[in-house]
Amino acid sequence: MEPFLQKLAAVFPPDRLYTDDVRLAAYESDGLTAFRAKPRAVVVPVDEAEVIAAVRICREHNLPFVARGSGTSLSGGALPVEEGIVIALNRLNRILRVDPVDQIAVVEPAVINAHVSAAARAHGLYYAPDPSSQTVCTIGGNVAFNSGGAHCLKYGMTANHLLGARVLLPSGEIVELGGSSMQGIGPDLVGFFAGHEGLFGIGLEFTLRLMPLPETCQTILAAYDSLEAAGNAVSAVVSSGVLPAAMEIMDRLAIDAAEAAVDAGYPRDAAAVLIVEVDGEREAVDAEFAAIVEKLSETGAVETRIARDAADRMRIWRGRKSAFSAVGRLSPDFLVQDGVVPRGRLGEALEKIGRMSRRSGLRVANVFHAGDGNLHPLILFDGAEDGALERAEGLAEEILALCIEMEGSVTGEHGIGMEKRAFMARMFSADDLALFGEIRRSIDPGEIANRGKVLPAGEAPSLQQVGLHPLEKAGVIERE
């Protein structure tokens, strides 16, 4: 047995140290099912001490490691490194403390996102970041990727709700970053840790900010006969001076998919639907919502629906939240993108994407966070067709290039991971990337923490398979 395996076997019993193909298979991929890689071993620690022991063994043997939560990453963040191991954190899933006075929750990394809000609810509090995979994804993964959700414009991303972290560095040392207060002193190290995509080590414990549940929420769905009209309606809402909690748009293809999947009841002949939501104190929301409804009445909507109660609201959102997995019914395969463009140029971006789609002969369904310009084009294709995958990848690349050209971003929330490393050199200069590399190697000279991700270097493994994550096929999770 190899030395590193012997060391691991001294820490992990056989039922928590996997080296056989059968048990390794479950860890070969994440939400970006196009990539697969088999690690040399998987360890399943039950406590912090075992995580620390595993990383120290990795450091000693210069062995790459990939920390994994639920494996829902859409950019290959949890994809194993073939010469290394996977540290599966799922057993570190306790909510350690909920403090209703300080409005914080202290959690282990594998606590599921939705469980934090569930635990906080008894105190009239909730945890705001709500990626659509929230019933399955873990806080550790959310922190590593600075995950978003539908409410980012108003409420921000995971980093904005992360107050403190206890971090295991790739060196094997432990550091405490941030604290329990909303205020910090010194450089915002915990903010810098969020979005590290696993390159800075493993978070062992997180202090999360909780917020009082909004007293009320008002939701409207407006249908338009063109995507452009929907985009203009967004500008109208923005000009009202009201800050909505969420603004989402779906185009015709995405609407059709959602209808087929969950019978959302959206207007069938609409080219696009816009969902706008306002939340807060009852009196303020009533006044703000009335202002938005009035603005929208001037935008030429072919139909508007105001949610009368919580059930209505759920119905409006169900279509939107099911859109990604629903698209799987329209097409055997698809690639999901995560670009950002300035909000004001959404209409222009969508028009260009439409033209690119027609040129390539591939359909593109559009679902996006209109409030912050974060697009999720879903490129539909049939992998069985000759050259279709290459054409789909080519179209994906064109769309990302468009986002860069518009001074947006190649990723709003899914992260760079494995998938978009090549684009880093188009978004950042050589000096920028040099500094990222210097910081990374200062923290991790051996590059053992999530080696091969984020920073461009070397060849990407070839795409092998695309389509729905197995959990999506089973209807357990929905992605954004």
Binding site: P214, R343, E438
Partner: protein, 381 residues
């Protein structure tokens, strides 16, 4: 004076980068609103951002604004106000001429941060000169961006020690159409603390919640004019007694302007040169103990941002401050201190910070984080 230590005043980011490359020890300064006059350290060259003072890009429909680091907050506020927008993190010292770069470096957010977040929640992108004299970029210009390491967050609170900021992109929000402030005298410390906790748990979405010890609460509501009277009535009912003052329009603006200048903490005719202005992060459960520990000390203070911060004017030494804070396990940043902003007590060794710092600044051009590491820094030449 040794010309090496004359303040450098670059007109462009490239010039700033050149100066960094040529200077063995330096520190960036903005409008020095947080730096008592005549107290610059003698062993390093000041690099002033005063000439990098323009707004570069602003599109109200994008909710973003980009400005050079030396741009005064007052210029930003004016441009934003013209479009019904504002800086949601409510930075202090606007009237004194504070710049956005200095505000980011000091990590200061004001009372308004309780509504939408502090400065860390609104910084989207930066350009800075690193310790090798390279101009580097982090983040971007759009409100949502997950690409690359989050340098914009890193530099918040970095006190000029992790690079010279040249450009900053911020997310901005619409400002509330109307704001009204109610002042409540609560009868005693305990009652004020209880009222603060009750308001934090309530359904109210407040624009500010300040506690002026011993027992006065300032509660600010912002939002549509139509809803304001109903909300005020509800607030009176929740607090359980009548306000002793209601501030509207100009009075409301003046009140918060005064607090933003720390007028309630400072002596009207100017502080002694060695007065420290200090920010102490708190959690609401520790707020009452903190109030009790400081009452009677040579300090004036206010509990800010719904019990999550204390602002203090401290009239003794930093060592005595550290000692006083120690009981409650508190740490602070003295953001206005002779010799420049500093952490009190000095930070413990943190390998994560040290590795980041040494990657950004391998030749130790920028000030160190703790005095014990100063001896490891090369002497100026």
């Amino acid at each position: 004076m040794n010309p090496q230590y004359e303040t450098a005043l670059p007109e462009t980011p490239d010039e700033a980068a050149r100066i960094v490359k040529e200077t063995s020890r330096l520190f960036p300064i903005g409008a020095t609103t947080k730096w008592p006059e005549g107290t610059h350290p003698g062993d390093a060259r000041p690099l002033s951002l005063a000439r990098l003072d323009r707004i570069l890009e602003y599109d109200p429909t994008e909710y973003t604004i980009t400005a050079q680091a030396g741009c005064p907050l007052s210029s930003l506020n004016e441009a934003l106000a013209g479009n019904g927008q504002h800086l949601p993190f409510d930075p202090p010292l606007v009237a004194h001429g504070a710049t956005i770069g200095g505000t980011v470096a000091a990590g200061l957010s004001g009372p308004g941060c309780i509504r939408h977040g502090g400065i860390r929640d609104f910084i989207l992108g930066i350009r800075m000169v690193d310790g090798r004299g390279r101009i580097v970029r982090g983040g971007g210009k759009v409100v949502k961006n997950a690409a690359g390491f989050d340098l914009p967050k890193l530099v918040v609170g970095s006190l000029g020690r992790l690079g010279v900021l040249t450009e900053i992109t911020l997310k901005v929000f619409p400002h509330p159409p109307v704001t009204v402030t109610l002042s409540f005298e609560c009868g005693g410390e305990d009652a004020a603390h209880q009222a603060l906790l009750k308001l934090r748990r309530s359904a109210f979405v407040l624009d500010a919640l300040e506690w002026d010890p011993p027992a006065r609460l300032l509660v600010r509501l912002g939002g549509p004019a139509d809803a304001m009277e109903a909300r005020i009535a509800r607030l009176r009912e929740t607090v359980g007694h009548e306000p002793d003052g209601i501030f509207r329009e100009a009075d409301d603006a003046d009140l918060w302007g005064e607090l933003g200048a720390f007028g309630d903490l400072r002596n009207g005719d100017g502080d002694a040169a060695d007065t420290l202005l200090v920010k102490v992060p708190l959690t609401p459960s520790k707020t009452l103990d903190f109030v009790r520990s400081i009452t009677g000390k040579p300090a004036r203070f206010r509990i800010s941002a719904a019990g999550t911060t204390a602002w203090m004017a401290w009239h003794e030494s930093p060592e005595e401050l550290a000692s006083c804070l120690q009981t409650g396990g508190h740490r602070a940043v003295a953001f206005h201190a002779p010799g420049g902003p500093r952490l009190v007590p000095e930070p413990d060794d943190n390998p994560f910070l040290e590795r980041i710092r040494s990657a950004i600044d391998p030749d130790n051009r920028f000030p160190p984080f703790a005095s014990h590491s100063r001896k490891d820094h090369a002497q100026p030449h």
